[in-house]
């Protein structure tokens, strides 16, 4: 295949980019080393996040795209329109739920406040004494590895996937592969997640480790994705280790329990103290979890930028290279919006929303 674009990485972001570029009429070669990444390790929650206007714009547009794709996706993508309940533990958090509702409303995202009795009716497994919740019904979940494969398959003959590891990007944009061969195309997209810094050490990306645990099948235990409203304060705006309550009902009836955040480590080992902290937090909201059987726990690395927004756009000085990296803990949600922006920039089309906040930043001006 004579490719017009090469995408490095077939995780959810690379797959979405290849899909969007194929839709724009490009012939795309995807190179993936099969070393795996965050797509296979994450929670797969599709959630509108509103820490800042740029994050809100990207997640909102992305979720609209996922919802449009969902009816055509295979069953193994495990898409579920379960919605999110942002749980308020006390009156302060309930006030935050109201502010969140106003922010979402201002951007056309549907949500509704549940008082304590309404929350107890919606999720009887939650502990008594919670203040209420904000329900965001448009949110959902999916199984990201299969969704990535599905996106690639949608490209038909326009997308070719090759099992290959890229060892280096030369000055003229030619790719050196591990088997000694080379590949080149007029445009190259770097979408290899946390591994991006091995090819471009200048990128301002650092790993943020996360633990997850999944239970055996207990259908009907919870109905929505449940996240504590304290999530933003406990997990986002801190440089230290943190945990937050986050539980997802999988279509299999299993419960996926998160989440933890740790900087300064790339060790994939499950750390019992961190896992214990995370589960204590979860049991504080869902006491019945303590009775359930866990099947597996694992870790993954999020590719974090200093401001939490992905880097989407032309690399400032590397020939032919475009960036789609740094999606941190929201890359499954934001993959379609990211891909839409990048494909528009690469093909000279007008993107559906402002690409400026995500433009590559924090890199040295020249090599």
């Amino acid at each position: 295949m004579h490719a017009e674009v090469i995408v490095i990485g077939a995780g959810i972001v690379g797959a979405a980019c290849a899909h969007a570029l194929a839709q724009a009429g490009r012939r795309v070669l995807v190179l993936d080393a099969h070393i795996g990444g965050a797509t296979g390790a994450g929670m797969g929650h599709l959630v509108v996040m509103d820490d800042n206007p740029a994050e809100l714009a990207l997640s909102r547009h992305s979720i609209a795209q996922w919802r449009a794709l969902a009816p055509r996706m295979g069953e193994d993508c495990a898409y579920s329109a379960c919605g999110t309940l942002w749980i308020a533990a006390n009156e302060d958090e309930m006030a935050e739920a109201e502010r969140k509702q106003q922010r979402l409303h201002a951007h056309g995202v549907d949500s509704r406040l549940l008082d304590a009795p309404a929350l107890a009716r919606a999720e009887p497994a939650l502990r008594k004494g919670l203040a209420g919740a904000l329900e965001v019904p448009g949110d959902g979940i999916l199984y990201a590895p299969n969704a990535a494969r599905w996106l690639l398959a949608q490209g038909g003959a326009s997308i070719c996937v090759e099992h290959a590891k890229v060892d280096a990007i030369e000055d003229d944009g030619t790719l050196q592969l591990a088997d000694g061969s080379r590949r080149s195309a007029p445009q190259v997209v770097l979408a290899n997640g946390i591994e991006a810094t091995t090819l471009c050490p200048e990128l301002p990306i650092r790993p943020k480790k996360g633990h997850l645990l999944i239970t055996d099948r207990y259908p009907g235990t919870v109905h929505h994705q449940l996240v504590e409203l304290g999530y933003v304060t406990s997990a986002h705006h801190s440089d230290g280790d943190s945990v937050a309550f986050n539980v997802q009902p999988r279509p299999t009836g299993q419960l996926l329990i998160g989440s933890s955040r740790q900087f300064g480590t790339t060790d994939p080992a499950v750390e019992a103290p961190m896992l214990a902290r995370m589960l204590q937090r979860a049991i504080g909201y869902l006491p019945g979890l303590a009775e359930l059987n866990a099947v597996r726990s694992w870790t993954g690395l999020r590719a974090a930028t200093p401001d939490g927004l992905p880097l989407l756009g032309k690399h400032p000085w590397r020939e032919k290279l475009w960036l789609a990296v740094g999606h941190e803990g929201l890359g499954v949600t934001t993959a379609p919006g990211s891909a839409h922006l990048l494909a528009a920039l690469m093909t000279g089309a007008a993107p559906g929303f402002d690409a400026a906040p995500y433009a590559p930043r924090g890199l040295p001006e020249t090599a």
């Binding site: 055996d216 099948r217 207990y218 299999t252 009775e291 359930l292 059987n293 099947v295 597996r296």
Partner: protein, 83 residues
């Protein structure tokens, strides 16, 4: 000297095992492959590692989900292999 035995139920069927047997062993004695559960895609799954790692031997024991290879049979135990 005869070895003491226990009587338990697997999916409603009485099964007699030697005292000290694991539930995984009882599943095998009950017949066939010793199937413990059925996967999401409908495939039968049986004890595999025998040491609490693979999680393939999950069954309901007296109403609680447990690992058959890590549970020791007791008199009157009720084991269900449905899910």
């Amino acid at each position: 000297m005869s070895v003491p035995t226990l009587l338990l139920q697997i999916d409603g069927q009485p099964v007699r095992v030697k005292a000290g047997s694991s539930v995984a062993a009882a599943l095998r004695l009950a017949g066939g492959m010793g199937v413990a559960r059925t996967s999401v895609t409908g495939q039968p799954r049986a004890p595999f590692c025998g040491m609490g790692v693979c999680q393939e031997c999950r069954v309901l024991i007296d109403g609680r989900r447990r690992l058959a290879c890590q549970a020791v049979c007791t008199e009157g135990l009720r084991v269900e292999t449905s899910e």
